[in-house]
């Protein structure tokens, strides 16, 4: 119960404050977390058009099912409108039909775009689309700009210096919720890469492979709002260590991780490639575990745009999304990986030795312990932004106290992770997107059910909330 008529005797409702304590009332809290898009004139008409086209589809389906108008009216008056719609939806994939009917706009409002990226292999689709011509193919003239760190990329994106940006997948959620910045509706229409991260330890820890022995270790992760942070915390917490008390976790830009490891400033890092492989290449550390062994298929980096950009440039947005998804599909094919590695290693992009990038992308790599490992899906590329992934990230943000109070997991996931747009673009490119937008995930042997995030959260012994 929330809003102005909240029960004053309900212990969960704080009078005149919201559940997280940052808003004046529960209504305001709900509104802030609902992250509605900015209202503009053009958008209103667009919504009308969407609603209209949805209604047309519904009518067509209803006509086809009931045959005559008289039978439709009889059925409706018998069971009521809402029931009829839901019964119909059960037999006929109305949503899919509506989506298929809605066509992406084809005019490109803005041709010259600036996209920021961090020089890591996670950004592969965003980067390779430039030298390999995917942007140009979709009618866009894109400049990809290497950026120094995650905070800088966030600020430049918020300042609209970039039209779109490479972000860590928790960042659009954090920006939308206003955690660590002003709340601005941000979206993530595509995941860049899945897997592709690793825990790298300094060479002196060769014999301390059990995380139970890691008390007092100093670790680096790329950013507070990163899947790296959450996975490292999850991993050590499963071993019984409290990540806030028993170890130290610092946010360090990826390029500085190897330098810090070499200088003995940190004991290890859970970081993006190529820096895990670079540590091995330079004889500084070894790869302890790949993150695919913690959660096979976990999302990592994201292609992110502001909701305002989508509203103002719907045609550009769809063309850009198609270019990114096509590049992602190309990168996911193992046969293309060497070609991609050669294209993105250049000084204009990653600025790394080709051998290092190739080992990351092909999955045939030296592990720093004298062995050559062959893990073809060490990194993979899958653009579909599962809502369940967003819900998992939100549970971890709440678990470690980055967000407080009640949140509507499913609603936030839906508004930030634009699965419908991704699915549409995938279909247009002849790819087959999944039918649903949520699924269960298995993280270190434990199943996560997106339908019950609070129950999942409560099942952990080590947590901040």
């Amino acid at each position: 119960m929330s809003g102005p008529f909240a029960d004053p005797f309900d212990p969960k409702t704080a009078l005149r404050r919201c559940s997280c304590g940052r808003h004046a009332s529960q209504v305001e809290h709900d509104r802030a977390l609902a992250c509605d898009p900015v209202e503009t004139g053009t958008e209103a008409t667009e919504t009308d058009v969407e609603a209209l086209s949805a209604r047309i589809v519904e009518t067509a389906v209803a006509k086809a099912v009931f045959g005559t108008e008289a039978r439709r009216r009889a059925f409706l008056s018998l069971v009521g409108k809402a029931t009829a719609a839901s019964v119909l939806a059960a037999f006929f994939p109305l949503d899919a039909a509506k989506e298929a009917f809605a066509q992406a706009p084809r005019t490109i409002e803005k041709r010259d775009l600036r996209i920021g990226f961090i020089p890591i292999t996670c950004a592969t689709p965003i980067i390779m689309a430039h030298p390999m011509g995917f942007y140009a193919k979709h009618g866009l003239n894109v400049e990809v700009i290497r950026t120094a760190g995650w905070a800088v990329i966030r600020d430049r994106a918020l300042n609209r210096e970039y039209d779109a940006a490479h972000m860590l997948s928790p960042m659009p959620l954090a920006i939308t919720l206003g955690v660590g910045s002003n709340p601005i509706p941000w979206t993530m229409p595509a995941v860049e890469n899945i897997n592709g991260q690793a825990i790298t330890l300094a060479n002196k820890h060769r014999d301390r492979r059990d995380p139970k022995d890691w008390r007092g270790f100093r670790f680096a992760v790329p950013f507070d709002f990163s899947i790296h942070n959450y996975l490292l915390r999850y991993y050590v917490a499963e071993a019984g260590l409290d990540p806030d008390r028993d170890i130290q976790i610092r946010a360090v830009p990826p390029p500085e991780m190897v330098a810090n490891l070499r200088a003995d400033n940190i004991d290890g890092f859970l970081g993006p490639d190529p820096f895990n492989q670079r540590a091995v290449f330079d004889g500084v550390g070894f790869i302890h575990i790949l993150t695919r062994e913690l959660w096979d298929g976990h999302p990592c980096c994201a292609f992110a745009v502001s909701r305002a950009f989508i509203t103002e440039n719907p045609g550009t947005y769809h063309a850009l999304l198609r270019a990114i998804i096509e590049a992602t599909a190309y990168a996911s094919n193992p046969a293309n990986r060497r070609e991609v590695a050669a294209a993105i290693s250049a000084q204009n992009y990653l600025n790394q030795p080709v051998t290092v990038v190739e080992q990351v992308l092909t999955g045939t790599f030296a592990d720093g312990l004298g062995r050559v490992q062959r893990v073809p899906n060490r990194i993979d590329f899958d653009p579909f932004p599962w809502h369940s992934m967003a819900i998992w990230i939100l549970t971890q943000m709440k678990r470690w106290g980055q967000i407080r109070g009640d949140i509507n997991y499913a609603q936030i996931a839906e508004q930030v992770f634009l699965a419908t747009d991704a699915a549409q673009a995938m279909r247009e490119l002849g790819l087959s997107p999944p039918e649903r937008t949520t699924r269960t995930h298995v993280i270190m042997g434990k199943t996560f059910d997106p339908a019950d995030p609070e129950g999942y959260l409560a099942s952990f012994a080590i947590r901040r909330s």
Binding site: P119, E143, V144, I145, R146, T147, A148, G149, V152, D155, R156, L158, N159, R160, E161, P255, E256, V258, A259, R262, R278, V280, F281, D282, G283, V284, A346, Q347, N348, Y349, N351, Q352, T355, Q359, T364, F365, A366, G368, G370, R371, V372
Partner: protein, 281 residues
């Protein structure tokens, strides 16, 4: 300081340099690791040092020299947004420094003049200046990015904020400590305030003002490298960050040398200007 024997000191400088480079070269020649113990497939995937169980060593002076020559051979190439020559990067940095420094001079010198001439204003503004002056310019960066919403302008702002204080304080001090007798003489000759300011105070305070400007340019050049490492995009600081990203120490040493040389040139230019306006009492 005695100006005698310039040849001897020059020779000594070269000797010191030779000793330094020699020691560096010798230390980078020390045997690396042991014998290669890993299989050839593994060795092909890692760096030469890692294959023998060691770490990639610091580059030798010969490697660094080769990189310097490579950079100097083609300093002005542009092969894409993120791949530009060291000369282009230097030009970006110098442009930012001159913009920020120029604005700072335009603000600090007139303001310092006013503060120096008016004990009331001096007393009123002094607390603010004293609080703002010791703040590291980079601490302004997040605030600048947040309010200005443009990273290029933000780095110019940071240069402005770091170079404004020495100029302001030195100008105010120089103006305030013009000898009483000279001002009295001007008054006796019934000079207007403006005429006094330009014909008496300005020449008298000029050496102090120039010293402030010289301190400022040094600080501005120090700060631009750090600011560009933070914000990225273009500039010599970004060049350093980018090569660090690639763990390429030879390139970083190159950039360090270039930064030092440019800083020295800037400082010498202002030293010459200071000598031009200095006078003997």
């Amino acid at each position: 300081m005695r100006a005698a024997r310039p040849f001897a000191s020059l020779a000594l400088s070269f000797l010191l340099l030779a000793i330094f480079v020699g020691v560096w070269q010798l230390s980078s020649l020390t045997p690396r690791g042991g014998e290669a113990t890993v299989d050839p497939e593994y060795a092909a995937l890692v760096g030469a040092a890692a294959a023998t169980g060691g770490q990639t060593p610091f580059p030798s002076p010969l490697e660094v020299g080769a990189r310097i020559l490579e950079h100097l051979a083609d300093p002005f190439y542009v092969r894409g947004t993120n791949d530009q020559g060291i000369g282009v990067q230097l030009a970006y940095s110098l442009g930012r420094v001159l913009a920020g420094y120029g604005i700072a001079a335009l603000v600090a010198i007139p303001l310092g003049f006013v503060i120096g001439m008016s004990p009331l204003l001096y007393g009123a503004l002094n607390p603010f200046i004293q609080v703002l002056r010791p703040i590291s310019p980079l601490a302004w960066m997040p605030l600048a990015l947040y309010t200005i919403k443009d990273s290029a302008v933000s780095s110019i702002f940071v240069i402005f904020i770091c170079s404004v204080w020495p100029m302001l304080i030195n100008t105010a001090f120089g103006v305030a400590s013009v000898r009483r007798e000279w001002l009295n003489v001007a008054r006796t000759l019934e000079c207007s305030t403006l005429r006094t300011a330009f014909r008496v105070i300005l020449p008298a305070a000029a050496p102090t003002i120039m010293t402030g400007m010289r301190i400022s340019i040094g600080i501005a050049w120090l700060v631009i490298v750090a600011a560009e490492m933070l914000v990225g995009g273009t500039g010599i600081g970004y060049f350093v960050w980018n090569q660090w990203n690639n763990l390429s120490l030879a390139d970083i040493v190159t950039a360090i040398l270039v930064i030092g040389l440019v800083g020295m040139v800037l400082d010498q230019l202002l030293a010459m200007a200071t000598r031009a306006v200095s006078y003997q009492e």
